[in-house]
Amino acid sequence: MDLNSIYSQLIMEHNKSGHNKRHLPNPDITEKGHNPSCGDDITLELKLNGDIIENASFTGVGCAISQASTSMMIDLIKGITIEEALTLVKTFIGMIKKEIEDEKELEKLQDALVLQNISNMPARVKCAVLAWHTLKEALSDK
């Protein structure tokens, strides 16, 4: 495995910057996600406006991959509809499972595209998908 393809500049930036790591005032949705085998533990907060995700943030602990993946996801979903967000979740998980390989479709994932190679590291897949599963859970009854 090529470390460069995983621990890329982008991941490092997201991991360290923490620009999405904070509490929202009066979030509409708060959803916890955890990964018992790793100890990764995040909480997503979402502010909705109709079916638009107006704002989003997260708190919690985890490895660089789960933290960066969460932060990247939040960058992506701010300002889009719930439906669009759920489609992104599908695309991301499809990418990790190697079920979606269409580059055009994957491009929509923007920064998160760098996590594509995580599928070669089975022990770390769970870290990458945690935030996305949590988001799906959060939006599932909306």
Partner: protein
């Protein structure tokens, strides 16, 4: 006592012939499972190629040979831990099954409403969950011995928790997270005075130090073959004869019976009572060969070697300002297993990056969530040594740590 030569020893272990992305394989995950020397691999092969049959069942050559090989392996285990009788050695699948057997069988007999079972907060999940179920079913009470800041059990805490209400104490000889060797002689002594029996989880100690079970005076003692150069799928339950005789069987089926009627059955004597169905003879043979190998090298020399490596590693690690050690920082009463954290970096990232340098360590909760919560860390990284590790391994590991810091954008 002359020192052992790990570079010579490594030649017996085919796994070290490979390179991990052009790096030397630095295997520091021995607390999870150990590698096998050719002597063990060959013993299993020999059995499979020449002597395989169903033991205890047939009157033909192969069955007889399989029985002999199985019994011989048991005798090796008996001698290895210096048990009095061969019937005191029961083969199980692993430490986990051994403890489940005890909790089921011994617990059923001993634990009634209000009776107390005492564990340490540092126990492996395998030494927690079977007891949780037991107290839930039988109305007992589960108590925990806590550790002091150094990760040790104090004499006061022993006296506080183990009282005349205690019926069973079950505790690891050596912690698989902290490397602490617990004062089990004192615990056993005090527990016996209080009228409690004592179960020792020897999964982490037996591979690395000489166990004299008669001297220890533990009532029950368990360990796994795969952590001491042996195969997976074979574990040991030692029990004092009079205690095992009193315990009802756990797994029921072929070979553990005397008479079977439609509605009831009587059971075979020890050790068969606890060995239902076809046993793992090749696993037993492999474990026997592992014991031969360990004894040829000498447990005292192995212990010394690991002490040396641990001292060297602690020294080098403590010199890095961003490394924190969990558990005892001195060498007294600790084994060759070190848990640590690195500032700002999650253990899983450490493990993944070290792996790319060929350094195999473990990261996570180490099947000890209550301890992690008690220590208030979500996870740690862990290195653990065995006879084939070298100072070079430690150096490569320490180099690796520095690289981890660099990869994740921190100065070293």
């Amino acid at each position: 006592m002359h020192k052992l030569n790990p570079e010579e020893i490594r030649k017996d272990f085919p796994i070290f012939k490979q390179r991990i992305q052009d790096n030397r394989l630095v295997y520091l995950d021995n607390g999870a499972t150990t590698q096998k020397p050719m002597q063990v691999i060959n013993a299993i092969n020999n059995y499979n190629q020449n002597s395989h049959g169903n033991p205890h069942r047939g009157a033909h050559q192969l069955s007889i040979r399989a029985t002999e090989e199985y019994d011989l392996a048991k005798e090796k285990v008996r001698k290895f831990i210096n048990a009095r009788y061969i019937e005191e050695i029961i083969f199980t699948r692993n430490t986990t099954e051994s403890i489940n057997l005890i909790a089921y069988s011994c617990g059923k007999k001993l634990i009634n409403k209000g009776d107390e079972i005492v564990l340490a907060i540092s126990e492996h999940h395998s030494n927690i969950l079977p007891w949780q179920r037991l107290v839930k079913e039988n109305g007992g009470i589960l108590k925990y011995i806590y550790l002091n800041e150094e990760g040790r059990i104090s004499p006061e805490e022993i006296k506080r928790k183990i009282t005349d209400r205690t019926k069973i104490v079950s505790i690891a000889h050596m912690s698989n997270v902290l490397g602490t060797i617990h004062p089990i002689e004192e615990i056993i002594d005090h527990a016996h005075k209080m009228g409690s029996i004592v179960v020792i989880d020897g999964a982490q100690s037996t591979p690395h130090m000489k166990i004299d079970i008669q001297k220890l005076d533990a009532d029950l003692f368990v360990f796994s073959g795969h952590k001491m150069l042996g195969p997976m799928g074979i574990g040991v339950l030692y029990g004092k004869k009079e205690i095992l005789e009193d315990m009802p069987p756990f797994l029921m089926g072929g070979d553990m019976i005397e008479y079977v009627y439609e509605q009831e059955a009587t059971f075979a004597p020890l050790p068969y009572k606890f060995e239902a169905g076809t046993q793992n003879v090749e696993g037993a043979v492999g474990l026997g060969a592992a014991i031969d190998y360990l004894e040829k090298i000498g447990l005292d020399r192995i212990e010394n070697h690991e002490k040396m490596l641990t001292e060297y590693a602690l020294d080098r690690m403590l010199s890095l300002p961003y490394v924190s050690i969990q558990g005892p920082k001195d060498l007294e009463m600790r084994g060759g297993l070190i848990s640590f954290t690195i500032d700002d970096i999650h253990p899983h990232d450490i493990a993944t990056i070290l792996d790319s340098y060929g350094v195999a360590i473990r990261a996570g909760h180490h099947c000890a969530q209550p301890l992690m919560r008690y220590l208030d860390v979500p996870a740690t990284s862990r290195i653990s040594f065995y006879l084939y590790n070298t100072k070079e391994d430690v150096d490569l590991f320490v180099e690796g740590i520095k690289n981890v810091r660099k990869w994740l954008g921190y100065g070293s």
